[in-house]
Every structure is written in C-alpha cells, then in structure tokens.
C-alpha cells in the first residue's frame, strides 16, 4: 500500500515505540509479506510461519525502543523472526526446508533470464560459482551463518549438529571459498 512512502522505516519504528498502531501497520505493509516469503522458504508449515511473524511484530511493538538506529529495520526484523523460528523448530525437524543447491528439474520451472542472473550476480560476483562447488554440509552452514545471520550455536540447532561441528565446517568452507575466489575467473556463464 505504502500510504506514507516518504517516512523512513526507522522513523516508523520510533513512532511504534510511542505506541502508534498505524506505524506498526505501515511497517507490516512494508515488511510482513516478505518476511512470510522468506520464512516459507525455510519452513514447510504455514502455521509456524504465521505464528513466528505474529511473534516478531508483537516483539517489535513491545521492544521498539531497543532498536539501535544504525542498522536496517528489515534485517532487524529478520533477525528476530528467524531466531524465533529456529527455537520453535528445535523439536520439529520434519518441517525444516533446506535450500535446494542443485537446480531442481520441474516442469513449471522458471529460470531467471541471463540478464537477471548477471544483475543478481552483482551481489556475489563469482562467489556464486564458488558456493556451488562447496559440499552440501558446508553450503548449509554458509547459508545459515553467513546468509541468514545465525550464530554458530543457533545454526547447530537448526541443522541438528553440534556447535563445534558448525564452527569447523564454517572455517573450512570459508577457506575453500577464499581459495576459489583467488583463482583466475573461469566459467561464470
């Protein structure tokens, strides 16, 4: 909807801290749907996602004062939401979705166009191909810790392995990535 697009997210958080439900609604309009989408990619149960998003915005309502105005509101909300989901999924590994690292072959599968790939690739450069070459255990650790911003402890909880294992894997994965990035750029089609 975006009724007040000129107001920044941070200003809206400040308004929420003053008890304005309208500001909360506007923040929900801006971030709620995307939060659902991101969580649904990690959890198979829409009920859990709905509850986690509810918890997240109720937490925002209660703790808006604690927002440090040096980061992005979206990232802050994601941090709250994903942590809550990980602790909720501790006993429910059946609904955890791990990302598909090999391109799934579906009939209605839409591949991003070459232009899209190049533009998305800006975020990573040849990191993408380096990531693809990691072994599955390493990739899931990189996904949880580097991309989703979990601590190694929380990542261990999510992936069902010990914290030390996460640390070791992360360390080795980073070394492999560094080595791959140092190589002269080869096949990035």
């Amino acid at each position: 909807m975006g009724i007040i697009p000129t107001v920044t997210d941070a200003a809206l958080v400040a308004a929420v801290a003053d008890g304005e439900t309208g500001a909360l609604r506007e923040l929900y309009e801006r971030h709620g749907a995307w939060l659902h989408a991101r969580l649904l990619r990690r959890c198979n149960d829409p009920e859990v996602v709905v509850e986690v998003v509810q918890d997240t915005f109720v937490a925002l309502w209660k703790d808006a004062r604690r927002f440090r105005h040096d980061g992005e509101v979206g990232a802050w909300l994601w941090g709250i939401a994903f942590r809550r989901m990980v602790s909720r999924l501790r006993s429910r590994h059946d609904v955890v979705l791990l990302p598909e690292w090999d391109v799934p072959a579906g009939p209605r599968h839409v591949l991003p166009s070459a232009e899209d790939l190049v533009l998305l690739g800006i975020e990573y450069g040849d990191l993408a191909s380096a990531l693809r070459r990691l072994s599955p255990e390493f990739r899931s650790v990189v996904q949880a810790v580097v991309l989703d911003g979990l601590t190694t402890k929380e990542a261990g909880r999510l992936l069902g392995v010990r914290e030390n294992t996460v640390k070791t894997r992360l360390h080795r994965a980073k070394a492999q990535l560094r080595a791959a990035l140092a190589e002269p750029q080869e096949g990035w089609r």
Binding site: R30, V50, E72, V103, E123
Partner: protein, 278 residues
Amino acid sequence: MTTETQGWHADPALLSSYLAGALDAVTGASVEQHVNRCGSCRRSVSHLLEPRLVERTWAGIRDAVERPPLPVPIRLARRLGLPEPTAVLLAAAASLRSAWLVGAFLSLSFATLAAYLSGGTALAPFLLVAPLAPVLGVAAAYGPRQDSLEALVATAPYGRTRLILLRTLAVLVSVLPFTALLGLALPGPLWLAAAWLGPALALVPVLLALAGFVGPRVAATVVLLGWSSVVVASTRRGLGPSWPVEAGQQGVYLVLALAACAVIAVRLGIDRQRGVAL
C-alpha cells in the same frame, strides 16, 4: 529503508519462482539479498503472496497489540510459570487481592509486636492470628458471595475442587512466608517460630471439610470460634503462654487434620461425578 538499488528489480516471474521454491540456493540467496534492500521488490512480493495468509497474521498481531495489558499480579504469576488462565482464576479470589493481603500482614504484624513488647508472656495474640490468617484467606477465596467469577466458574467445565485446592495453595503460598518471618521475631525458644504452623495447616483441611457441608462462611465462623476458644481458654486457666502449640496439642491437631482429609477424600469419592465435595 526503501533504497532502490541500481534501478534493476526482480521481475514477477523470478519472484514467483522464488516463492514457489523453484530457484536453486545461490539464485534464491541472491534474490533475497536484493529484495532485503529493495522496498519496491518487497511490495511486488506482497502482491504475489496469498493475501489471506498475510491478513490472518495481521489479525493476530492486532489482537495481541490492542489487548489491554494484564494486571501486575497476573503478569507476576505468569513470570513464575503459571499458565495465564490459572493466573486469572487465582487473581479473582478476594483473599489474593492486595487489600486483603495488606490487612493480613498488618494484623499479623500487630500481634507480633504485642508478643514482642510483652517479652514472651503474651503470645496469645500471635497464636490467635497466625493460624487464622490462612484459614480466613482460604474461606474468602471461593464461594458464591466472595468469587467475582462465580457465575463463570459454575458453568465452566473446570473442576470446582481443583479450583478450590488451587486457590487454597495460592493463599498458603502468599500468607505463610511472611508469617514465618514474623514468627522469627517472637521472643522465646526458636521452635515457637514454627510451632504455629501445626494448627495453621490443620485448620485449613478442617475448614475445607466443614465447608463441604455448610458452606465457607459458616465453616470459617466455626473454625474461628473453635480456635479462639482454645487460645483464650488456655490463658484464662493460667496455662503457659505457649500451651496451644506444645507437643501434645500438636498431636491433636495432626489427628484433626487427618480426619478432615479423610472426610474430604470420602466425599470426593462419592461425588466424583458432580465434584461438589468442597
């Protein structure tokens, strides 16, 4: 922050395949990194997502946000690990409200002060009040006249016995600790500080057993008069100030308590279906 990055935006087809889980992890992660920082793409996502799901979530958030905050005692009880419905049921009991608790605390304090000033010769006020405070608290915790939730409780599928025992426990928890603390201030041997617990714990089941027959008000009156006459008679006859709580008498209280518990148990067994023993 709605920073529009580089003028490029993920097109709806790309976003839909992200939502459908059809992208591989690296492309998916790239889409996420972009949309995280792009307000316009986040808006596109909200058009692609099931609107009912998003609205349902908002309804829950609005309910939680607009609900008036619970009173302090209920929040305190919840912090201690009680489920919310139980906390609300407890808080509705008259004798668990702050006015009642302050009253009990004051009368106990005065009784202790009297015993303290007399140097141990006048224990009667304390011995009179200390066991009666929990008894009256329990009596005031339920029943048609005292309970503001009575109409609800009577029709709800919630065991009455369970409610009464729950509130009894809550009253004991709220009254006994500070009575015990005041008891430590009593002059005389240290065992006196704990001796009042005997009659206090015995009179509660007696009250509950009686209340099953005649209701909490009459039962409280009977127990009150009974205990007062024991304490007053002991001073009149010139027995020692601690006579009501000495070993022999404690045995009598124990027997009384056991008998009362037996009565309650038997009546519970008979009335299991209707749950009206208490």
